[in-house]
């Protein structure tokens, strides 16, 4: 199977001969040979160059086979291989297996090990230092291809935490670019929230003001966007701001006069999120009648598929009204 290494002395583990018939599988020969040798070496706990090679073959055939990843990691550490080379190799595998997530966890392990082993070195060591920005091109390539790839974003979050990139200009520039490329990219909004609000000591009056301006301007560009509204409301809740501060902003998307005059006019409402916020603002300032009216409009005209949710919100206001008048 390979000109590079010799496996003549290995007796491959027989794949799929003894299992019950229920889960019999017809493997192709390459898979059978590779996995057979791989499992045999694993069983013998062989940590060698040829074992490393066979894990590569195995991963090329079936990247989601987590046993192979563990074995490969063990081989690397026992042979003291160049871990930077391993990171390069990983990138190729990632690009060829977009949906695979084992690889990102594996990459974390490698980086952790690089950090740990370079820490062991004496001062003045010429050993190569790890630089977190080396991750940016591969992450950008992955997110170019699938801008909402859950595992890649999650890995990116890990990187930010690990190397304290919360305020890193390149990181901020990247997430900004993702949002502007697609205002509906919820993953990018989530990442921005993480960068801006996960660390309490980074939150200042100034930064909050900037973020509010940022998100409000992007809501104006696309008023019916759940991601940006969640971001806006998230900031208000986190900072304990009064919702009434959003009244004027909401009214940019709702024509109150038309809403009252013309019951069926969808033109009156450019954003259901603005309308819902209005109901909450009315409630906050104890304007119960108007709050109930807006919830009614939402449930009976504008968002009928969720009429039960709107009824529930309305009933909460009605309970308060009942409680105050009796």
């Amino acid at each position: 199977m390979s000109n590079d290494y010799n496996f003549d002395d290995v007796i491959p583990v027989e794949i799929n001969t003894e299992q019950p018939q229920l889960c019999q599988i017809l493997y192709d020969d390459e898979y059978k040979t590779t996995m057979g040798i791989l499992l045999a070496l694993l069983k013998n706990e062989e940590y060698s160059e040829r074992a490393l090679y066979i894990t590569q073959k195995g991963i090329e055939l079936l990247a989601s086979h987590y046993t192979i990843w563990i074995y490969r990691y063990d081989i690397l550490t026992k042979l003291n291989k160049d871990l930077f080379e391993e990171l390069d190799w990983c990138e190729q595998v990632a690009l060829e297996n977009e949906k695979n997530y084992q690889i990102w966890n594996y990459r974390q392990l490698i980086i952790d090990r690089i950090l740990k082993t370079s820490g062991d070195e004496k001062e003045g060591s010429t050993k190569r230092k790890y630089e977190p920005h080396r991750e940016f091109p591969i992450l950008e390539a992955m997110l170019d291809s699938d801008p909402k790839n859950h595992h890649v974003w999650s890995y990116r979050k890990w990187l930010v935490e690990k190397f304290d990139l919360f305020n890193d200009p390149k990181e901020l520039e990247f997430v900004d670019k993702c949002i502007l490329a697609d205002l509906r990219n919820n993953s990018a909004w989530n990442h921005r929230y993480f960068l801006k609000f996960a660390k309490v000591d980074l939150i200042t009056e100034e930064s909050v003001k900037n973020e509010l301006q940022y998100v409000e301007s992007l809501i104006e560009q696309l008023p019916q966007n759940p991601s940006s509204w969640n971001y806006l409301i998230g900031i208000y809740q986190k900072q304990g701001l009064k919702l009434s501060g959003l009244e004027d902003f909401c009214l940019k998307f709702i024509n109150l006069k038309e809403l009252e005059l013309n019951d069926n006019s969808f033109k009156a409402v450019k954003s259901l999120y603005a309308l819902e916020m209005l109901a909450k603002i009315f409630l906050e300032r104890k304007d119960y009648k108007d709050s109930i009216k807006v919830y009614d409009l939402l449930g009976t005209q504008y968002d009928t598929i969720r009429s039960n949710y709107w009824k529930y919100e309305k009933s909460k206001v009605e309970t308060i009204v009942g409680g105050t008048t009796h």
């Binding site: 583990v13 003894e18 299992q19 019950p20 018939q21 229920l22 889960c23 019999q24 599988i25 017809l26 493997y27 192709d28 898979y31 499992l39 079936l62 989601s64 086979h65 987590y66 046993t67 990843w69 563990i70 990691y73 084992q102 966890n105 594996y106 974390q108 392990l109 909402k148 859950h150 974003w153 999650s154 979050k157 935490e161 509906r184 990219n185 919820n186 993953s187 989530n190 990442h191 929230y193 993480f194 609000f197 996960a198 759940p226 991601s227 969640n230 971001y231 409301i233 998230g234 900031i235 809740q237 986190k238 598929i305 969720r306 039960n308 949710y309 529930y312 919100e313």
Partner: protein
């Protein structure tokens, strides 16, 4: 996009689905061996679909149990996805769920039981989270899987439950949903695992006044199809008929989505000729979507289809789970 109007409802093709599921395991194609790492999960999906349709005996019990036991990895103490694979939490829960559906007492575990319990418990980290195996991947899925498995085994203790609950609550986001780890984007499948974990831990009171979460879940319904998606602005997918609806069911808010529109969406994703259910109409069917389409329909209206009721917390028949021990502090 194809729209299913209320007058154009597809029939539920029960017999064809049963055949589709049985055929899975004699279906020895190239694609099939690629899913080796999911085989035990696949078996669980098939069995759950069958038992929900009240036809568990369509698969040979002895062979199924024999296969599950062969997936036991004596080295780690957990179950692997396939014979000779390393033990992993995901396949361990699938194994326990399958065995428990057949065997109330789990006698078949024998002296593997103690090793199994310590395999699960040893994967818990200091912050209360769980890693999937010794490889170190952390994800709220693994918290759910561990608590559910320990609950099936009747082995939950406050030392395990309390830090796990604390970790789960750290994973709730500003939009009300839950993610894989603290700060990770909300995702409906992760919401299910977090709610399920809290439910098993008898800690749902922590979300008592949380309409934000239920609201986020109800916003997952997409028009015009009526299907549910997993995140904002993503396409609807049959599997969320389980992840979202079970979550709403745990929160007692299934009526916050339009159930009849959702039902029609699931029915429209069937392969009416060969059986099986796909993620969206006219796509390739698979056992995963078949399972969660059927369990979703059971949550919507099990009587109508002569299904067994499914427990939204465990994704197993309610008649099996009713004796499970949830943690009472």
């Amino acid at each position: 996009m194809e729209v299913t109007s209320d007058t154009d409802v597809f029939p539920f093709v029960r017999e064809k689905h049963i055949n589709f599921i049985i055929e899975q395991d004699s279906h020895r194609s190239f694609e099939y061996w690629l899913t080796e790492h999911l085989r035990l999960n696949g078996l669980y999906w098939g069995i759950t679909a069958l038992v929900t349709m009240d036809t568990l005996d369509s698969l040979p019990k002895e062979e199924v149990m024999d296969f599950v036991i062969k997936c036991w990895d004596s080295k780690s103490g957990g179950f692997g996805a396939f014979p000779k694979h390393d033990g992993h939490l995901l396949s361990t829960l699938s194994a326990l769920q399958i065995l428990r559906i057949y065997d109330d007492e789990l006698n078949i575990l024998g002296n593997r039981r103690a090793q199994l319990i310590s395999f699960i418990k040893n994967l818990q980290l200091k912050d209360g989270s769980f890693q999937g195996d010794r490889f170190g991947e952390v994800d709220t899925r693994f918290v759910y899987v561990s608590l559910s498995a320990l609950s099936i085994l009747g082995e939950l203790t406050p030392e395990i439950v309390n830090p796990a609950v604390e970790f789960i609550m750290k994973c709730q986001n500003f939009d009300g949903g839950f993610g894989m780890v603290p700060g990770a984007e909300s995702h409906a499948a992760q919401v299910f695992t977090c709610l399920g974990a809290l439910a098993v831990a008898d800690s749902l009171h922590l979300l008592e006044n949380d309409t934000k979460l239920s609201n986020w879940l109800s916003e997952r319904q997409v028009l015009p199809t009526g299907g549910l998606n997993g995140r904002p602005e993503k396409l609807p997918d049959v599997c969320y008929s389980w992840w979202v609806l079970s979550s709403l069911s745990i929160l007692k808010k299934t009526h916050w989505v339009d159930l009849s529109k959702l039902e029609n969406f699931v029915l429209s994703c069937q392969d009416l000729i060969n059986g099986g259910i796909s993620d969206r109409p006219d796509n390739q069917t698979d056992i995963y979507h078949t399972c969660f389409g059927i369990t979703g329909l059971s949550l919507i209206n099990h009587e109508k289809y002569n299904f067994k009721p499914v427990d939204p917390i465990y994704c197993m028949p309610s008649e099996v789970t009713k004796h499970f021990k949830k943690w009472k502090n």
